[in-house]
Amino acid sequence: MNAPENNPEPENTPWDPVFLDSRREAFIILMLWVAALLWAVPYCYLNGFPDTFDENEFSTVWGIPSWLFWGIAVPWLLADVFTLWFCFFYMKDGDLGEDAPAEAETAAGEVSP
């Protein structure tokens, strides 16, 4: 979602940095969700949904079925590490501003700028 081509650019008013930072961070979070999906679902499906169950083939890691350990537990841990990095080393702080008074309005509910 880029800046609106039909939207008149207000003169000398740059985009708000919190808006730009938030949008970039939201995109990265969306990509993280996609990565989690692409790791967990195919891995678990290919390794944890056998047509026939073979006891000799079945393995565990620390007691957890290995398909679930590598498909969910490990990425869960990695996602926590990513969250740590994202929250403390990547995500930008910004001034969110003070509360503005609610917009004036008429008793009939029509909002006026």
């Binding site: 039909n6 939207n7 169950f53 007691g63 957890i64 969910i72 008793a107």
Partner: protein
Amino acid sequence: MSSGHLLSSPVVAAAGGFTPALVTFLLYTLAVFSLAIIANHLRKGSDFLSEYFIGNRGLGVWAFALTFAATSASGGSFTGFPSKIYSHGWILGLWIGSYIVFPICTMGFIGKRLNQVARRSGAITVPDVIRDRFRSASFGLLAVALIVFFMSFNLIAQFKAGSLMLKTLLDGVAVFESATDYLGASLGGLSFFEGVDPAYLLCLLGFGLAVVAYTTYGGFQAVVWTDVMQGIVMVCGVIVMLPLALYLVGQQAPEGVGSLEHATLRMAEMSPPRKGTATFLSPTPLEEGASLDKGAWILASGAAEGAEARLFRIIDDSGGVAAGTGWPGVKGLEITTVGDREQVLKNEGDRVRRDLTLGELALEDYAYGAEEGRKGVYVTGPGPSPSSDAGFLPLSLVISFFFMWAISGSGQPSSMVRLMAFNNTVTLRRSIFTVAIYYSLIYFPLVIIFCCARVLMPGMDAESDRIMPAMAVFLTENVGAGWLAGLLIAAPFAAVMSTVDSFLLMISSGLVRDIYQRNMNPGASERRLKWLSYLFTLVVGAAALLGAVNPPQFLQDIIVYTGSGLAACFLAPVVYAIYWPRSNVEGCMAGMLGGFAAHLSMYVGGIWANGSFFRPYRLMEFDPIIVGLLVSFVAGYVVTRLGPPPPEDLVRKYFHKSGSSSGA
């Protein structure tokens, strides 16, 4: 203490007086009220509505993180989820797969920007944000209508869940049973209460009045601080249960085999139980009124010479009714796994009745996972299912649930309103990480605990909703710490409470702020708004309480329908509103209505396709949430593109650095 005993008698054995569980509940309620009173006194009084409904945007890290986590983790996390783990096994680890990224998605995706937009508009509710961002009263009213519609149903369902939990907690306590008898006698003849279980009603009154009272009195701050306490109780419950479960499973493990590995290998041997009716025959004539109590275990041999004895558990609410020398057509569950049978015989000992023989049997196998000689169904996908021949979690549903939790979780108005309440971006960053650790400590450990429960307490399949309290008692009593059961049982109770109070406040804020103040009486005095807030919170709570006296049957289904419906309506419009300067009122309204209609149509389609509203039609086998979200985003985009650009001053106000009069 055995599992069989748990089903046939109180979950927390009462010696006629105060039990650890009852004491815990009373202490817990006392703490909740104390927090509400403190919250009410701490209210600063500068702007009543802002303070009452959003805490003046002053939440710090712990308050924000724990209120967010506790509200998101509804009662289902501690009742429905353990029940599903017990019933379907390790596959539930994949079912909650997107919890891997749940905190960062639900808090980080829209949190910072939504908080900023809410500040720039002075909004204190989600409809407020929508109304101001697009300067459209009708859009705001549409948002209020949808929130009130979905959340009212959800509130009733949550009230029922909380009451059932309390009933489990107090079942068999002498004081409670006396009160139940008194209430039953007092209400006799009143048609509204006809057919209502007095014990349930008493619990509903206790639970409902407590929640409504502290929410009404304390407002958002009370909800937040009780959420903090509830969140701590929840995580402590899990942290205590995990080592206890592993310790008890480990006692059964052969030397050299780890606790959890032993549990998994035992589960790999398991086959699903059979459910149906059986006739049990006594060797001697039966006395009139002799019954087979619910929860009783019966090891009955077949009529044929040399037939192997089979193990059954009675699941009939009314118990078997004796006729001649037997009990015909008793509802029961047959345990089909050898290891489970041995475990039950060991747990129950002399309590297993062995003098009966089997008569006529009408038992049904699971639709998936019960094939003769099949193993591994509880440790691999898609997991056993009593009703679907595709199994519990086929691939299409794996993908659907990946959307369901992380994506639809971002679209919940109850989460959004919390995202509008933190004090600064440092709090947001720290809170996201706190919640990530918090959820890691709760959800995957829950999967481990209740996989262990399957090994430790076989035969609970017919009443798996009670597995959480039953397991709490089993674990604590087996390690000689029965008093701990009360704390563990308080965890699910805390989860329901923290969800109910938030929803209650969402609805009343919609009525007071979005409808009354902003549409009917913009000049209403602070004093009037204050009393109206109290009144509406009280009235909404009382109405939900009355609705829950005769609640709809499909409890979990209602919760799923309303949760996914809210996401289908709100996620796309809010994302467009805060991230897309070109978005306009026409497009976002189309996104909201399109999501609502598409999601609803899947459920209505279920009436024709599957015979029930709550068994929705699944387009290409995907859950309705995916259809709803897709339609909402596409409709929002297309209609926005076709419509006129938004007013320049609105874009400047919400997207440009110097656009706000308040200064960003």
